[in-house]
């Protein structure tokens, strides 16, 4: 947990000047900032206004995923829209039902946008502004599509109801309580924000972005609201990062297309196992794990499996950062993207001594394979060409 909190601290500190938190806290709006590169895609900053609105303390919110504010009546389709926007690294604006700490629900306009690194075009953070929607709003009862629900014709419903009625099953009508309007609902099913709230969200976002941009100028690691360069080779998209971050096992991704087959992703468990920091392995060759007694014929075997695009399992002596060694049961497998081409090799490590076989959980070998499976799914689906959905 400690190391995660450290990552969360660093998330803002490495990009922005030291008074970033104060500067953000001076803004009156409700907003949160998340870091997609940290596993669990946690909130790394929550504004005073947001905490007041949600009635959580800062400690309760930092490190959590934004979904903790959802509840039984939160529309899953809306959540899906947010999820898709994150996957496609674009903005989204939806009305969303959330819950305060005490369990009371409230409607808000959720306005989320990515923030990019200027030099490499990567998504650095997501910013979400949450504007509460005043309760006096007009609503569209019964239609779960907030954007255009009001325009739907009554005919569909009317004729269906008539059909049932025409069977003169009066009991039916009663039983089914077809007059859903007669039921008093405690909370509206949908809610549409007004132009005022939309403008407020947009303005708030712009203010936040200018604080971020300004504070990033001071560190020289600039961020911007529009992607101004296309990420180059070795780039793992934020959506892939989020998916990979959920996988608990120790693994790395190697890009076989880069010269020297560099590591482009390392899981938290890998860092724990080897003692390295992320930046010490990303962009480095897999060789960092080798040492004096590492068997060269095994290394050869690994090379060959990569060349022939085959999976392989080897037992190899690896070295941690502190030079201590361990027997590493390494499984390597090619991973294909949505076009069916090999995009990466995944290497999953198990420390041989730690193979616990208590007979209850899955065997270490099976867990290793499940990591391979989860990586394959993540890579394949994050590379399905996006941009087709409405934004």
């Amino acid at each position: 947990m400690d190391s995660k909190l450290r990552l969360i601290q660093q998330s803002l500190n490495t990009r922005y000047s030291e008074w970033i938190r104060e500067a953000l806290d001076d803004l009156p709006d409700n907003f949160t900032i998340t870091d997609p590169s940290i596993s669990g895609h946690p909130i790394v900053f929550a504004s005073r206004g947001f905490l007041k609105m949600s009635r959580y303390s800062r400690e309760e919110v930092i490190g959590q995923n934004g979904k903790i504010f959802q509840g039984p009546k939160t529309n899953p389709r809306t959540v899906m829209e947010i999820r898709e926007a994150i996957r496609e690294e674009r903005g989204v604006e939806v009305s969303l039902l959330n819950y305060r700490k005490d369990g009371t629900p409230f409607w808000m306009l959720f306005h989320m946008r990515p923030v990019f690194g200027k030099e490499d075009g990567r998504v650095i953070h997501f910013v979400a502004v949450q504007v509460p929607i005043s309760t006096k709003q007009r609503r569209n009862g019964g239609v779960s599509l907030s954007e255009d629900g009001s325009g739907l014709n009554e005919v569909v419903f009317g004729s269906c109801r008539k059909e049932v009625d025409s069977d003169s099953l009066l009991e039916l009508r009663r039983v089914l309580s077809l007059d859903s309007g007669s039921k008093v609902l405690d909370i509206e099913e949908t809610c549409k924000a007004s132009d005022f709230e939309e403008r407020r969200a947009a303005t708030a976002f712009n203010n936040i972005l200018s604080v971020l941009t300004h504070c990033s100028e001071l560190t020289g690691r600039l961020v911007c609201g529009k992607r101004c360069s296309v990420p180059g080779a070795g780039y793992v998209s934020s959506s892939l990062n989020i998916s990979l971050g959920r996988i608990k096992q120790s693994f790395v991704l190697i890009d076989p297309h880069l010269p020297d087959m560099l590591i482009v992703y390392a899981s938290d468990a890998f860092l724990r196992l080897t003692g390295y920091d992320r930046h010490e392995v990303l962009g480095h060759n897999f060789r960092v794990l080798n040492g004096v007694d590492t068997d060269t014929s095994t290394l050869h075997q690994i090379k060959e499996s990569i060349q022939t695009e085959q999976a392989c399992t080897v037992r190899i002596l690896s070295y941690r950062k502190d030079k201590s060694s361990f027997w590493n049961c390494l499984h390597l497998s090619p991973v294909r993207n949505a076009s069916g081409k090999i995009a990466y090799f995944v290497g999953v490590q198990i420390e041989d001594d730690c193979k616990n076989r208590d007979g209850h959980g899955l065997s270490p070998e099976m867990r290793q394979l499940s990591a391979v499976g989860a990586v394959k799914v993540a890579v394949r689906t994050s590379s399905i060409s996006a941009g087709s959905s409405k934004s």
């Binding site: 899953p76 039983v175 394979l369």
Partner: protein, 446 residues
């Protein structure tokens, strides 16, 4: 008249191929390590026992999940791990991750996959498409004939209310376990089959218990991108042995993006809506006080359709919280020669995945030319007409209302358990004819 279509059947098991050579064998082990009495004694398979969830909403509690970690993560560890293991053992007919796939530009983003390997080496077979319910035929291929290596694990409700995992559990023949097996012709990574009470040899026909099991599996996976599907006979099921399909594809399906319009909320909280702006007409079920409420309502609707000989498909989405029910008539049209040759040429069989917007295409040309328009054109052929859909809805609502009435009637009864079972059975049997006398009797009871 009997309606038949010719199509290339999808091979779901490696043991399906030699169906022709299949001859009756005596016990003593058929040498294939199958799941019949010849090979099952002493056989062991992993057993995953899931915790019964009672509340549909419980999973997303406001203050998060305080539950302790289960011994095995169902989807991420068990399904994917076992699946990858079978992949490395070479049990699949092709590597599905080597199949190209893309999202087609358009409002809903239909998903296209080019899968040239799925239908190779199979001759077209005749399928009867005008009978949704057909008796189980032990001579034909069924899942008791798959090799045990194709079975990933047994799936059952936990007895002590906690998730349990046994890496090596004996197969309890008496209690006919439900199992999860691989589909050797996967259309995405993790494509599996859920076969409820496999040894009971149930025909492809929804019943309340089996449907609840499918919902539990979706809930257990806990991932909105792991969906289950069902095809009835006449709606492109190929094997008449009760099974659901499931796979993992981490993009939303077009059907999930389509707007809906609420028709009604039942007394147990189940909300029934109608799909709008989607090429296939269908109903959407969600909510409900318990997962069982939701499951029973959908099952009753399915039972009504199959009893009325209406082919249909079901998609279980969003961790079992949203269910799409789609009556269809494509195979019937095909048998009657009413489908255009261009559509038939694509050889796309519009089963549940295609209807949901995941198009598996067999020809490079179709893949390259895949467009929103083509997807709509195909799916429009699948849909019932507006008029027929209204009629079918009336049947469904009637069937559901009967279920509801009974539930209400029994609320006042002290000893509800046994009674409800009896009445349920009575309804299932008599619902061949809509407007059963039973309804009125129940109402009088009130």
């Amino acid at each position: 008249m009997m309606l038949r279509i010719k199509r290339v059947p999808t091979v779901l098991s490696n043991y399906q191929k030699d169906e022709a050579e299949e001859t009756a064998r005596r016990s003593g082990g058929c040498g294939k390590n199958c799941l019949r009495s010849c090979c099952i004694p002493g056989a062991k398979l992993p057993l995953y026992a899931f915790k019964k969830v009672t509340n549909t909403q419980s999973e997303k509690g406001v203050r998060g999940n305080e539950n302790k970690e289960p011994p095995v993560a169902f989807l991420d560890s068990l399904v994917l791990g076992e699946w990858e293991d079978r992949m490395q053992r070479g049990l699949f007919r092709y590597d599905v991750t080597a199949c190209e796939t893309k999202v087609i530009p358009g409002e809903y983003g239909f998903i296209a996959q080019l899968n040239e390997g799925r239908h190779l080496k199979k001759r077209p077979t005749e399928f009867r498409v005008d009978k949704v319910l057909q008796p189980f035929d032990g001579n034909k291929f069924n899942f008791t004939k798959v090799g045990q290596e194709e079975v990933l694990f047994q799936f059952a409700a936990s007895e002590d209310g906690e998730v349990q995992f046994f890496p090596n559990a004996p197969i309890d023949v008496e209690n006919s376990p439900s199992v999860v097996a691989i589909n050797v012709s996967p259309i995405e990574y993790g494509h599996v089959l859920l076969i409820p009470r496999i040894l009971e040899c149930l025909p492809q026909r929804i019943d309340r218990q089996s449907f609840l099991l499918a919902l539990c599996m979706a809930a257990e996976a806990g991932n909105p991108y792991f969906r289950l599907g069902y095809n009835s006979l006449g709606a492109f099921a190929t094997i008449n042995h009760l099974h659901f399909q499931a796979y993992y594809l981490a993009v939303p399906f077009p059907i999930e993006k389509a707007p809906t319009r609420k028709i009604t909320t039942l007394s147990d909280g189940v909300i029934i809506s109608e799909l709008l702006k989607y090429p296939v007409r269908g109903l959407v079920f969600e909510g409900g006080n318990t997962i069982q409420d939701l499951s029973d309502t959908v099952s009753d609707a399915c039972i009504c359709l199959q009893d009325n000989n209406i082919p249909y498909n079901v998609l279980i989405s969003d961790c079992g919280k949203r269910i799409f029910l789609l009556p269809q008539c494509y195979a019937e049209k095909q048998a009657l020669g009413e489908v255009s040759p261009e559509l038939l040429d694509t050889q796309v069989n519009p089963a549940v995945w295609e209807i949901s917007g995941h198009m598996v295409l067999k020809r490079r040309k179709d893949y390259d030319e895949a467009s929103d328009e083509n997807a709509w054109r195909l799916l429009a052929e699948v849909s019932l007409s507006e008029e027929r859909f209204r009629e079918v809805n009336a049947l469904i609502f009637e069937a559901i209302a009967i279920g509801e009435t009974i539930a209400e009637t029994l609320l006042d009864e002290p000893d509800t358990k046994t009674q409800s079972l009896e009445i349920e059975n009575a309804i299932t049997k008599s619902s061949h004819r809509p407007m059963v006398a039973g309804t009125h009797e129940c109402l009088v009871l009130q």
